[in-house]
Amino acid sequence: MGEWAAGARASVEAVFREERGRLLAALAHRFGDLDLAEDVASEAIEAALVHWPVDGVPARPGAWLLTTARRRAVDRLRRDQAYAARLALIAAEAERADTTAPVSDDDGLPDERLRLFFTCAHPALPAADRGALTLRSLAGLTTPEVARAYLVPTATMAQRLVRAKKKISEARIPFRVPGPKELPGRLPGVLQAVYSIFTEGYAASSGPRLQRLDLAEEAIRLAGILRRLLPAQREVAGLLGLMLLVHARRDARIGPEGELVLLDAQDRSRWDRDMIDEGRALVLVALTGGAPGPYGVQAAIAALHDEAADEASTDWPQVVALYDVLLALTPSPVVALNRAVAVAMRDGPEAGLALLDELAGEAQLRGYHPYPAARAGLLHRLGRHAEAAAAYREALDLAGTEPEREHLRGRLAVVETADG
């Protein structure tokens, strides 16, 4: 019995982890309230933990959870006057709402997650909270886990999530997938929310740890779900490809002492070849059949790095050409900075430095440590050691993570001991 109960419990938790996002999405769509959906989803899982070990796991666990959660929600709405009024409203609106729920699989739970993706990344929510809300609602992380992911106290994260959910509920941000005309304007927001989770996982903006792989993997998992839900959207393929092609280098990026190892010094035999192959296949999808989007182009740049045996044999003319495309699609000083570094590899440090100096006045690069760090690297290669040291010191004052600072201190020590 004990063993069986443990097995049942594991099975319940596996269902919950895998299906929580789907359960939540279906409930949020039905009741228009993410808070209520979260509460009754949790209650349903608790009920499953009580009943399944006694009655056996139902044939369609997802459908059982959904039915149980729905009943709890209706009970709660009946008890609550304010909610009761809303229920009547929702019932009326459900009549005219489209009822084209995607076909449920054999689990009996309809997949409404795409709606939830668009709600969590809605432009009316603060940009900083969209990734957190997506992690909480669609990746199934608990609030303390989300708080740890963003390196903030649990109470702070709980407050941010409560405020976001309150806005969804009280300003009535709908749970719906934008129509074909709106989609091109709204999809980038969803992709940005997922990508922000990935970059947050990669470059912890402060603290001793350089990267939080679990967060990067959550972002890849979320993009995988999006890819299945929106198979015709090439930018989704581009985003997933980009993340896989960057994440494939994770082991080589950290040295034995936990220090940052940049692309040029990485042991490329430690790159994840399977992940690179998967990413390259997605780049093909992203770049075929029309003008490419920014994620597809960034994925293509990542693929060129991943395909090269070393820095010298990287196809730099092609990298620069792709940055030209990216700069046209998304003009930004950060893209221009990366392009300048690629130009330095193609045409020599002087050409790159000239481009970097043109960016000196850009407000967006003020306080952005990769800018002085890139200048320092090129000045070093030109033998202008005093200027390089000054630029490294400037970057050191700005760099966030300890491994990044350690890396810059190492570079600074090299130029300080160099002649001239």
């Binding site: 009024a85 609106e93 009316a124 009280e170 300003a171 009535r172 941000i173 709908p174 719906r176 934008p178």
Partner: protein, 111 residues
């Protein structure tokens, strides 16, 4: 769900970005769609008067708007639509959202 669309112009003397015809077309469209609960445009800012009443009941009446801000509230619509996306659509169609203007979308509190 009711929303108020608060229509702000960039500043009192900013050039008008849209014509009377634009406003008439928008108003007609919104009314024919059956979403308008009420709407008014406000008279020129120089006509504004601010009133405060102190704790002992004394009245202070001053010339001008309550807040000295660059953006001036010029009018409003209250619309009744299913959700924020639809409200945002009506705000985006409003001539007041163009140029230096902006439309703030505020749900009406339900008690």
């Amino acid at each position: 769900m009711k929303y108020m669309l608060l229509i702000y112009s960039g500043s009192a003397d900013a050039p008008d970005e849209c014509t009377v015809e634009d406003w008439m077309a928008y108003d007609k469209e919104a009314r024919e769609a059956g979403v308008v609960v009420s709407s008014h445009s406000l008279a020129d800012l120089i006509t504004a008067t601010t009133v405060r009443v102190g704790s002992s009941g004394e009245r202070t009446v001053t010339d001008g708007p309550f807040a000295e801000s660059r953006e001036v509230l010029g009018g409003y619509y209250v619309i009744d639509v299913p959700d924020l996306d639809v409200a945002v659509d009506w705000a985006a169609r409003c001539p007041g959202s163009r140029g230096s203007g902006a439309v703030e979308v505020r749900p009406i509190a339900e008690f």
